[in-house]
Symmetry: C2
Subunit: 193 residues, 2 copies
Protein backbone atom coordinates (compact mmCIF):
# COMPACT_ATOMS: atom_id res chain seq x y z
CA UNK A 1 0.00 0.00 0.00
CA UNK A 2 1.21 3.52 -0.74
CA UNK A 3 0.97 6.50 1.63
CA UNK A 4 -2.49 7.58 0.43
CA UNK A 5 -3.97 4.08 0.63
CA UNK A 6 -2.58 3.76 4.14
CA UNK A 7 -4.12 7.08 5.11
CA UNK A 8 -7.52 6.08 3.70
CA UNK A 9 -7.44 2.89 5.76
CA UNK A 10 -6.40 4.85 8.86
CA UNK A 11 -8.68 7.91 8.65
CA UNK A 12 -11.29 7.25 5.95
CA UNK A 13 -14.78 5.99 6.70
CA UNK A 14 -17.04 3.88 4.53
CA UNK A 15 -20.69 4.93 4.49
CA UNK A 16 -23.68 3.20 2.91
CA UNK A 17 -24.18 3.91 -0.81
CA UNK A 18 -20.51 3.53 -1.70
CA UNK A 19 -19.56 6.77 0.00
CA UNK A 20 -15.96 7.09 1.13
CA UNK A 21 -15.54 9.89 3.66
CA UNK A 22 -12.08 11.41 3.62
CA UNK A 23 -13.07 14.83 4.91
CA UNK A 24 -10.61 14.80 7.79
CA UNK A 25 -7.59 15.02 5.47
CA UNK A 26 -8.59 15.46 1.80
CA UNK A 27 -11.68 17.49 1.05
CA UNK A 28 -12.82 19.56 4.02
CA UNK A 29 -9.98 19.58 6.51
CA UNK A 30 -6.74 19.31 4.53
CA UNK A 31 -3.48 17.79 5.68
CA UNK A 32 -0.97 20.01 3.88
CA UNK A 33 1.89 17.54 4.29
CA UNK A 34 -0.21 14.93 2.54
CA UNK A 35 -1.05 17.41 -0.25
CA UNK A 36 2.66 18.02 -0.76
CA UNK A 37 3.43 14.30 -0.80
CA UNK A 38 0.77 13.83 -3.48
CA UNK A 39 2.22 16.80 -5.35
CA UNK A 40 5.65 15.13 -5.42
CA UNK A 41 4.16 11.80 -6.47
CA UNK A 42 2.30 13.38 -9.41
CA UNK A 43 5.47 15.27 -10.31
CA UNK A 44 7.38 11.98 -10.48
CA UNK A 45 4.72 10.37 -12.64
CA UNK A 46 4.41 13.26 -15.12
CA UNK A 47 7.80 14.98 -14.95
CA UNK A 48 8.66 14.14 -18.57
CA UNK A 49 5.37 15.41 -19.99
CA UNK A 50 6.48 19.03 -20.41
CA UNK A 51 3.67 20.34 -18.18
CA UNK A 52 3.12 24.12 -18.51
CA UNK A 53 -0.11 24.41 -16.54
CA UNK A 54 -2.06 22.53 -13.87
CA UNK A 55 -5.84 22.61 -14.25
CA UNK A 56 -8.41 21.62 -11.64
CA UNK A 57 -12.00 22.40 -10.68
CA UNK A 58 -13.25 24.13 -7.56
CA UNK A 59 -13.26 23.46 -4.73
CA UNK A 60 -11.54 20.42 -3.27
CA UNK A 61 -9.14 19.92 -6.18
CA UNK A 62 -7.49 23.28 -5.53
CA UNK A 63 -5.31 22.29 -2.58
CA UNK A 64 -3.79 19.26 -4.34
CA UNK A 65 -3.40 21.21 -7.58
CA UNK A 66 -1.44 23.93 -5.74
CA UNK A 67 1.01 21.36 -4.42
CA UNK A 68 1.40 19.82 -7.88
CA UNK A 69 1.89 23.20 -9.58
CA UNK A 70 4.56 24.13 -7.01
CA UNK A 71 6.57 21.00 -7.92
CA UNK A 72 6.38 21.81 -11.64
CA UNK A 73 6.96 25.55 -11.13
CA UNK A 74 3.94 26.39 -13.29
CA UNK A 75 0.66 28.27 -12.69
CA UNK A 76 -2.47 26.53 -11.46
CA UNK A 77 -5.85 27.36 -13.01
CA UNK A 78 -9.11 26.28 -11.47
CA UNK A 79 -12.32 25.95 -13.46
CA UNK A 80 -15.25 27.74 -11.87
CA UNK A 81 -18.74 26.42 -11.46
CA UNK A 82 -21.12 28.99 -12.84
CA UNK A 83 -24.81 29.35 -12.24
CA UNK A 84 -25.19 32.09 -14.84
CA UNK A 85 -27.13 31.17 -17.92
CA UNK A 86 -25.46 34.00 -19.79
CA UNK A 87 -21.80 33.26 -20.20
CA UNK A 88 -19.81 35.83 -22.11
CA UNK A 89 -17.56 34.93 -25.01
CA UNK A 90 -14.32 35.20 -23.09
CA UNK A 91 -14.59 31.77 -21.47
CA UNK A 92 -14.46 28.12 -22.42
CA UNK A 93 -17.53 26.29 -21.12
CA UNK A 94 -18.38 22.67 -20.38
CA UNK A 95 -21.47 21.19 -18.79
CA UNK A 96 -20.78 18.89 -15.87
CA UNK A 97 -23.37 16.68 -14.26
CA UNK A 98 -23.05 16.23 -10.51
CA UNK A 99 -24.38 12.98 -9.15
CA UNK A 100 -23.83 14.13 -5.58
CA UNK A 101 -25.91 17.25 -5.98
CA UNK A 102 -28.16 15.92 -8.78
CA UNK A 103 -27.76 18.92 -11.02
CA UNK A 104 -25.86 20.21 -14.03
CA UNK A 105 -23.24 22.90 -13.58
CA UNK A 106 -21.68 25.01 -16.24
CA UNK A 107 -17.96 24.96 -15.71
CA UNK A 108 -15.89 27.80 -17.12
CA UNK A 109 -12.27 28.78 -17.68
CA UNK A 110 -11.26 32.19 -18.96
CA UNK A 111 -9.77 32.03 -22.46
CA UNK A 112 -6.83 34.09 -21.22
CA UNK A 113 -5.44 31.21 -19.20
CA UNK A 114 -5.30 28.36 -21.71
CA UNK A 115 -3.61 28.62 -25.08
CA UNK A 116 -2.53 26.27 -27.87
CA UNK A 117 1.05 26.04 -26.59
CA UNK A 118 -0.05 24.75 -23.18
CA UNK A 119 0.57 21.21 -22.01
CA UNK A 120 -2.01 20.69 -19.32
CA UNK A 121 -1.96 18.32 -16.37
CA UNK A 122 -5.49 17.93 -14.98
CA UNK A 123 -5.73 17.24 -11.23
CA UNK A 124 -8.71 16.34 -9.06
CA UNK A 125 -9.38 14.73 -5.71
CA UNK A 126 -12.00 12.17 -6.78
CA UNK A 127 -12.89 10.27 -9.93
CA UNK A 128 -16.17 8.33 -10.07
CA UNK A 129 -18.27 8.68 -13.20
CA UNK A 130 -15.74 11.03 -14.75
CA UNK A 131 -18.07 13.91 -15.66
CA UNK A 132 -15.88 16.59 -14.11
CA UNK A 133 -12.74 15.30 -15.80
CA UNK A 134 -14.49 15.05 -19.15
CA UNK A 135 -15.50 18.69 -18.76
CA UNK A 136 -11.91 19.72 -18.00
CA UNK A 137 -10.63 17.71 -20.98
CA UNK A 138 -13.22 19.33 -23.23
CA UNK A 139 -12.29 22.83 -22.02
CA UNK A 140 -8.57 22.17 -22.49
CA UNK A 141 -9.02 20.85 -26.00
CA UNK A 142 -11.35 23.71 -26.95
CA UNK A 143 -8.40 26.01 -26.31
CA UNK A 144 -6.09 24.05 -28.60
CA UNK A 145 -3.95 23.05 -25.62
CA UNK A 146 -2.91 19.45 -25.06
CA UNK A 147 -3.97 17.27 -22.13
CA UNK A 148 -0.68 15.56 -21.25
CA UNK A 149 -2.05 13.71 -18.27
CA UNK A 150 -4.62 13.42 -15.52
CA UNK A 151 -3.78 12.87 -11.86
CA UNK A 152 -6.41 11.78 -9.34
CA UNK A 153 -6.09 11.18 -5.63
CA UNK A 154 -8.87 8.59 -5.23
CA UNK A 155 -10.56 6.73 -8.08
CA UNK A 156 -13.64 4.65 -7.52
CA UNK A 157 -12.57 1.75 -9.69
CA UNK A 158 -16.02 0.19 -9.66
CA UNK A 159 -17.48 3.21 -11.45
CA UNK A 160 -17.01 3.88 -15.12
CA UNK A 161 -15.05 7.16 -15.20
CA UNK A 162 -11.51 5.82 -15.13
CA UNK A 163 -12.13 3.20 -17.79
CA UNK A 164 -13.72 5.70 -20.19
CA UNK A 165 -10.83 8.15 -19.87
CA UNK A 166 -8.15 5.47 -20.26
CA UNK A 167 -10.04 4.03 -23.25
CA UNK A 168 -9.91 7.45 -24.85
CA UNK A 169 -6.12 7.17 -24.71
CA UNK A 170 -5.32 9.61 -21.92
CA UNK A 171 -2.61 8.93 -19.38
CA UNK A 172 -4.62 8.79 -16.16
CA UNK A 173 -2.85 8.12 -12.88
CA UNK A 174 -4.79 7.56 -9.67
CA UNK A 175 -2.88 7.31 -6.42
CA UNK A 176 -5.52 5.04 -4.89
CA UNK A 177 -8.06 2.99 -6.83
CA UNK A 178 -10.87 1.67 -4.65
CA UNK A 179 -12.06 -1.67 -6.00
CA UNK A 180 -14.62 -2.43 -3.35
CA UNK A 181 -16.07 -0.93 -0.17
CA UNK A 182 -18.13 -2.57 2.51
CA UNK A 183 -20.02 -0.16 4.76
CA UNK A 184 -21.07 -2.86 7.19
CA UNK A 185 -17.59 -4.19 7.78
CA UNK A 186 -16.01 -0.78 7.18
CA UNK A 187 -13.47 -2.25 4.75
CA UNK A 188 -11.87 -0.80 1.62
CA UNK A 189 -10.12 -2.92 -1.00
CA UNK A 190 -7.64 -1.26 -3.40
CA UNK A 191 -6.71 -2.31 -6.90
CA UNK A 192 -3.14 -3.62 -7.18
CA UNK A 193 -1.20 -1.18 -9.38
Amino acid sequence: MNFLEERIIKDGAVKPGNVLKVDSFLNHQMDIELMDKMGEEFYNRFKDAGVTKVLTIEASGIAIACSVARCFGVPMVFAKKSKSVNIDGDVYVAEVESFTHKNVNKVIVSKKFLNPEDKVLIIDDFLANGCALQGLISITESSGAEVVGLGIAIEKGFQIGGRVIRNLGYKLESLAIVEEMDAEKGTVTFREQ
Copy 2:
Protein backbone atom coordinates in the same frame (compact mmCIF):
# COMPACT_ATOMS: atom_id res chain seq x y z
CA MET B 1 4.51 49.34 -1.95
CA ASN B 2 4.76 45.72 -0.89
CA PHE B 3 4.99 42.74 -3.27
CA LEU B 4 1.21 42.28 -3.54
CA GLU B 5 0.50 45.95 -4.18
CA GLU B 6 3.18 45.92 -6.87
CA ARG B 7 1.62 42.87 -8.46
CA ILE B 8 -1.84 44.45 -8.43
CA ILE B 9 -0.46 47.50 -10.22
CA LYS B 10 1.36 45.32 -12.73
CA ASP B 11 -1.26 42.66 -13.52
CA GLY B 12 -4.57 43.81 -12.03
CA ALA B 13 -7.25 45.59 -14.04
CA VAL B 14 -9.81 48.11 -12.84
CA LYS B 15 -13.30 47.67 -14.26
CA PRO B 16 -16.37 49.89 -13.88
CA GLY B 17 -18.37 49.39 -10.68
CA ASN B 18 -15.31 49.22 -8.42
CA VAL B 19 -14.33 45.82 -9.73
CA LEU B 20 -10.67 44.89 -9.40
CA LYS B 21 -9.74 41.97 -11.65
CA VAL B 22 -6.86 39.93 -10.32
CA ASP B 23 -7.82 36.69 -11.99
CA SER B 24 -4.45 36.21 -13.69
CA PHE B 25 -2.66 35.60 -10.39
CA LEU B 26 -5.04 35.44 -7.42
CA ASN B 27 -8.46 33.95 -7.99
CA HIS B 28 -8.68 32.00 -11.23
CA GLN B 29 -5.12 31.45 -12.42
CA MET B 30 -2.92 31.24 -9.34
CA ASP B 31 0.72 32.20 -9.08
CA ILE B 32 1.96 29.67 -6.53
CA GLU B 33 5.11 31.62 -5.74
CA LEU B 34 2.94 34.61 -4.83
CA MET B 35 0.68 32.37 -2.67
CA ASP B 36 3.76 31.20 -0.79
CA LYS B 37 5.03 34.73 -0.33
CA MET B 38 1.65 35.71 1.11
CA GLY B 39 1.78 32.61 3.32
CA GLU B 40 5.12 33.73 4.76
CA GLU B 41 3.89 37.28 5.25
CA PHE B 42 0.82 36.12 7.19
CA TYR B 43 3.03 33.78 9.19
CA ASN B 44 5.23 36.72 10.19
CA ARG B 45 2.24 38.80 11.20
CA PHE B 46 0.54 36.07 13.29
CA LYS B 47 3.41 33.84 14.37
CA ASP B 48 2.93 34.64 18.07
CA ALA B 49 -0.81 33.95 18.06
CA GLY B 50 -0.55 30.22 18.74
CA VAL B 51 -2.46 29.31 15.57
CA THR B 52 -3.70 25.69 15.54
CA LYS B 53 -5.91 25.84 12.46
CA VAL B 54 -6.33 27.92 9.31
CA LEU B 55 -9.93 28.46 8.19
CA THR B 56 -11.08 29.76 4.81
CA ILE B 57 -14.11 29.54 2.53
CA GLU B 58 -14.32 27.93 -0.88
CA ALA B 59 -13.09 28.50 -3.48
CA SER B 60 -10.47 31.17 -4.04
CA GLY B 61 -9.34 31.39 -0.42
CA ILE B 62 -8.15 27.78 -0.50
CA ALA B 63 -4.86 28.32 -2.32
CA ILE B 64 -3.68 31.12 -0.01
CA ALA B 65 -4.89 29.24 3.06
CA CYS B 66 -2.84 26.18 2.03
CA SER B 67 0.31 28.29 1.84
CA VAL B 68 -0.43 29.86 5.22
CA ALA B 69 -1.19 26.49 6.87
CA ARG B 70 2.08 25.08 5.52
CA CYS B 71 4.05 27.88 7.23
CA PHE B 72 2.31 27.22 10.56
CA GLY B 73 2.44 23.42 10.20
CA VAL B 74 -1.29 23.15 10.99
CA PRO B 75 -4.32 21.78 9.10
CA MET B 76 -6.41 23.97 6.81
CA VAL B 77 -10.20 23.74 6.89
CA PHE B 78 -12.41 25.26 4.25
CA ALA B 79 -16.04 26.17 4.84
CA LYS B 80 -18.37 24.82 2.19
CA LYS B 81 -21.17 26.67 0.49
CA SER B 82 -24.26 24.56 0.76
CA LYS B 83 -27.43 24.75 -1.23
CA SER B 84 -29.22 22.20 0.93
CA VAL B 85 -32.03 23.53 3.06
CA ASN B 86 -31.69 20.53 5.33
CA ILE B 87 -28.40 20.67 7.15
CA ASP B 88 -27.75 17.88 9.61
CA GLY B 89 -26.69 18.53 13.18
CA ASP B 90 -23.05 17.68 12.64
CA VAL B 91 -22.13 21.05 11.17
CA TYR B 92 -21.80 24.67 12.21
CA VAL B 93 -23.79 26.92 9.88
CA ALA B 94 -23.70 30.60 8.97
CA GLU B 95 -25.66 32.50 6.37
CA VAL B 96 -23.52 34.55 4.02
CA GLU B 97 -24.90 37.10 1.61
CA SER B 98 -23.09 37.36 -1.71
CA PHE B 99 -23.23 40.75 -3.38
CA THR B 100 -21.53 39.39 -6.48
CA HIS B 101 -24.09 36.66 -7.00
CA LYS B 102 -26.99 38.43 -5.28
CA ASN B 103 -27.98 35.49 -3.14
CA VAL B 104 -27.63 34.02 0.34
CA ASN B 105 -25.52 30.93 0.85
CA LYS B 106 -25.46 28.68 3.82
CA VAL B 107 -21.86 28.12 4.76
CA ILE B 108 -20.98 25.04 6.79
CA VAL B 109 -18.07 23.51 8.66
CA SER B 110 -18.20 20.03 10.13
CA LYS B 111 -18.18 20.07 13.93
CA LYS B 112 -15.37 17.53 13.87
CA PHE B 113 -12.86 20.09 12.64
CA LEU B 114 -13.25 22.96 15.11
CA ASN B 115 -13.08 22.55 18.85
CA PRO B 116 -12.80 24.79 21.91
CA GLU B 117 -9.00 24.39 22.12
CA ASP B 118 -8.49 25.72 18.59
CA LYS B 119 -6.88 29.07 17.87
CA VAL B 120 -8.10 29.91 14.41
CA LEU B 121 -6.54 32.14 11.78
CA ILE B 122 -9.14 33.05 9.15
CA ILE B 123 -7.81 33.64 5.63
CA ASP B 124 -9.51 34.94 2.49
CA ASP B 125 -8.56 36.53 -0.79
CA PHE B 126 -10.96 39.52 -0.74
CA LEU B 127 -12.68 41.64 1.87
CA ALA B 128 -15.39 44.07 0.80
CA ASN B 129 -18.59 44.18 2.87
CA GLY B 130 -17.25 41.47 5.17
CA CYS B 131 -20.19 39.05 5.04
CA ALA B 132 -18.03 36.00 4.36
CA LEU B 133 -15.62 36.85 7.19
CA GLN B 134 -18.47 37.47 9.61
CA GLY B 135 -19.82 34.03 8.73
CA LEU B 136 -16.44 32.42 9.38
CA ILE B 137 -16.10 34.30 12.70
CA SER B 138 -19.58 33.18 13.72
CA ILE B 139 -18.84 29.54 12.85
CA THR B 140 -15.53 29.60 14.73
CA GLU B 141 -17.09 31.08 17.85
CA SER B 142 -20.04 28.67 17.73
CA SER B 143 -17.49 25.91 18.20
CA GLY B 144 -15.96 27.55 21.25
CA ALA B 145 -12.69 28.11 19.38
CA GLU B 146 -10.96 31.47 19.38
CA VAL B 147 -10.43 33.70 16.34
CA VAL B 148 -6.83 34.83 16.86
CA GLY B 149 -6.62 36.77 13.63
CA LEU B 150 -7.85 37.38 10.11
CA GLY B 151 -5.58 37.67 7.09
CA ILE B 152 -6.81 39.09 3.80
CA ALA B 153 -4.98 39.50 0.53
CA ILE B 154 -6.93 42.49 -0.83
CA GLU B 155 -9.27 44.67 1.20
CA LYS B 156 -11.52 47.21 -0.44
CA GLY B 157 -10.91 49.98 2.07
CA PHE B 158 -13.78 52.08 0.75
CA GLN B 159 -16.29 49.36 1.71
CA ILE B 160 -17.41 48.76 5.26
CA GLY B 161 -16.20 45.23 5.99
CA GLY B 162 -12.73 45.97 7.33
CA ARG B 163 -13.90 48.76 9.63
CA VAL B 164 -16.66 46.62 11.15
CA ILE B 165 -14.33 43.72 11.89
CA ARG B 166 -11.60 45.95 13.38
CA ASN B 167 -14.25 47.77 15.45
CA LEU B 168 -15.31 44.43 16.87
CA GLY B 169 -11.76 44.10 18.20
CA TYR B 170 -10.35 41.47 15.88
CA LYS B 171 -6.80 41.61 14.60
CA LEU B 172 -7.35 41.98 10.87
CA GLU B 173 -4.37 42.23 8.56
CA SER B 174 -4.79 43.00 4.87
CA LEU B 175 -1.75 42.84 2.62
CA ALA B 176 -3.19 45.45 0.27
CA ILE B 177 -5.93 47.94 1.13
CA VAL B 178 -7.42 49.62 -1.92
CA GLU B 179 -8.48 53.14 -1.04
CA GLU B 180 -9.64 54.21 -4.46
CA MET B 181 -9.96 52.86 -7.98
CA ASP B 182 -10.54 54.72 -11.19
CA ALA B 183 -11.79 52.56 -14.05
CA GLU B 184 -11.36 55.31 -16.64
CA LYS B 185 -7.75 56.03 -15.80
CA GLY B 186 -7.11 52.44 -14.72
CA THR B 187 -5.51 53.58 -11.47
CA VAL B 188 -5.50 52.01 -8.01
CA THR B 189 -4.57 53.90 -4.83
CA PHE B 190 -3.53 51.96 -1.74
CA ARG B 191 -3.86 52.97 1.89
CA GLU B 192 -0.52 53.67 3.55
CA GLN B 193 -0.02 51.05 6.27
